[in-house]
Amino acid sequence: MEKEKRNLTGLWFMLPAIILVIVFFFIPVIMTIGISLTDMSSVTGFSAWKWVGFKNYIKIAQHPDSITNFIATLKYVSITLIFFNVGLGLLIAIATNHLKNSIGGFFRAAWLLPRITPPVVYVLMWSMLAADAPYGVINQLFRIPFGLSTTNWVPEYAFLFIVLVNGYIGASFGMIIFSSAIESIPKDIMISSLVDGASYSQRIRHIIIPQLRWPLLFVVTYQTLSLLTSFEYIMILTDGNFSTEVWSLWSYHKALNNYWGNFQYGFGAALAAVLVVVGTLLGIIYMKYFRFDALVQEPKIDEL
């Protein structure tokens, strides 16, 4: 009885979050799936469309770009996630934690700069950095003075650039989460491990990393889904050219950005719906793999 009441109270506390999830996730997902079953486009407008069943999904299956764009997405998400959003984030968090507080804080703040710079300005800085000779900082400072060949670096290494552009922003998210997690490791464990003769690297391996399991799960899950669906920096930098058309950008291009103005809302929605399914599946796999339930189980002390 007591427990039921408590559950009900819990439900009340969750209500705002439940409403938000329904309004901003479930309803849009249902609408997206609904639109994906229609032939809605600029030609039909939002009133003269027809139901077409799974035609848009069949189109995806037949489309020559599906596999290419899927592989590009897989590569982009996994590389950015492993090397930057998690890898670099963790590296900065650990490194700055071993510095004096004020200096560490300064570096962490500096790493936030890409995130707080408006996307268009941030990407413009990258494209001017990489522009073809005689323009472009890379060419002017590091190639021309040494007599090395110059090029237009973004098209040349387009994939690397979209990973770098997104990675430098993504890294700061992991950095914040991991830093605060490291800070919250009890000081006595941290200090006593050194007193007991552990080296810094041993402490990182045996004390810090194991304590970061929960934040690691969170950052990996959250950033996978975020990378799957974010495309604005790629759009501004390459607009999907040079084999950088990731799935979410493809969906955007088809649904909302045709050069001569014919937007395929239905087909674009089907592409987005595929992304929702992939994201949901990945979320479930992560939860199982990282034993999410074990991490959030009720404290044992309550059972007494």
Partner: protein
Amino acid sequence: MKKAIAVLLLALVALPVMASGSQEEAGGPETVKLSVWTREGGINHWRADLAVEAAEELNAQLKAEGSEISVEVEAYLDEGDWGNYKKKFSLAADAGEAPAIICSGHEDIPVWSRAGYIVPMGDSVQSVKALAPQFDDVIDSLWNASTWQNKVWGVPQDTEARPMYFSTTNLKKLGWDDARIAALPADMAEGRFTLDDLIATAKEAVNKGVVEPGYGYWHRPRKGGDFVQFYKAFGGDLYDAGQDKLIVDRDALVKFYDFQRRSVTEGVTPGKYIGTEWKIWHDVVSTNKALFWNGGTWMWADWAKNYAPGGEDTLWANVGFGYEPSGIRGEKGITLSHPLVYLVASEDASGNKHQDLATRLIALMSTTERNTRHAVESGHLGILKSQNDFDAYKDSKFLADVTYLLDNNFYQPNHVMYGLWFDAFWEGMVSAEQGDKTPEKAADDAIKVMKVEIEDQLIVR
């Protein structure tokens, strides 16, 4: 206190009701708000500003007619790109918030008319010509661009040509004499100077050090209709008017992709070039750093004003232009024109009930004097027959010299699926030029995409 608040609230609620009631009863003067959307500020500002000016004249006319209606124009210049501009209009139209008049490309006509966003101006060119003397004055061939399914949907606002420009100074350095340079535009027009010759000449200029490697030929650096010209130059067709279907011609597509790729492998275009910033592009072509470049007539005014040191005089001293050369020897050079048109939004799309006033406003924006002001300042070609005899137009040496290109121009098709055709066409070109795919593979893939997306609206040859 409570009473006072109640009275205050009641008064606040009642006031607007009373106000609107009194207006209805009086049936007095009515102000019709007409918003006009156009794109690009800078040298193209007249597209919007002429509407404000024309509204004054329209109001004077309405007053003289004894009408109680007056027009108030809200002109809006969009600085974003075409894709976003069209998206903004589509979404606004669906929400019933579209402007009364929009200036856009003629290729939007089939899509927007099918969606019910715009209304036809008349059932035939003759009927539209009868609406206003300015419409009667419009160059006849331009009506083709705004006609779809036997109705006329828009009034041409401006047009242009897309020449192949060349640096006369660099050709001289290459050893060409004045007579040969002077004959080049005619050679381009008659198919004596082809796209193969262009690559060969550019290569020679690179080899002799006249221009830097990769600066022999610069095409448009970003997506745009210009590339269709080169597909046409190799004999490609776009549209079968009889069947109202789009066409893709594999042979021409492969040859066009191969031309783009060869320009890179021969070293006359940079290897990684697509996506180059526009500012860099304009700076290079307007300061004699390249030998050939394909651009639009509207760029001339921009270069003169913002890029070439010494302005238009420097351009005349260094730059020549002609048709885009054919890819086939003996075939005539061509150019793409892309007329912008003023379109009148439907009542459902815009809430405006006065389509007739919108049409009258467009007529007044299209007078010889006003359209010439836009044409001269922006480097666009005029749309009216009378402009040929209009001093201000004739005085613009560039417009006078370039207008002949319209003799052999073509338009992109007014077909609902053209946007999809074009995207596949463009993506294939990028992958071929970059060397990611062979021209054959890029063409086959582009055709596959077109088949999936355009379905039975496509004819593959």
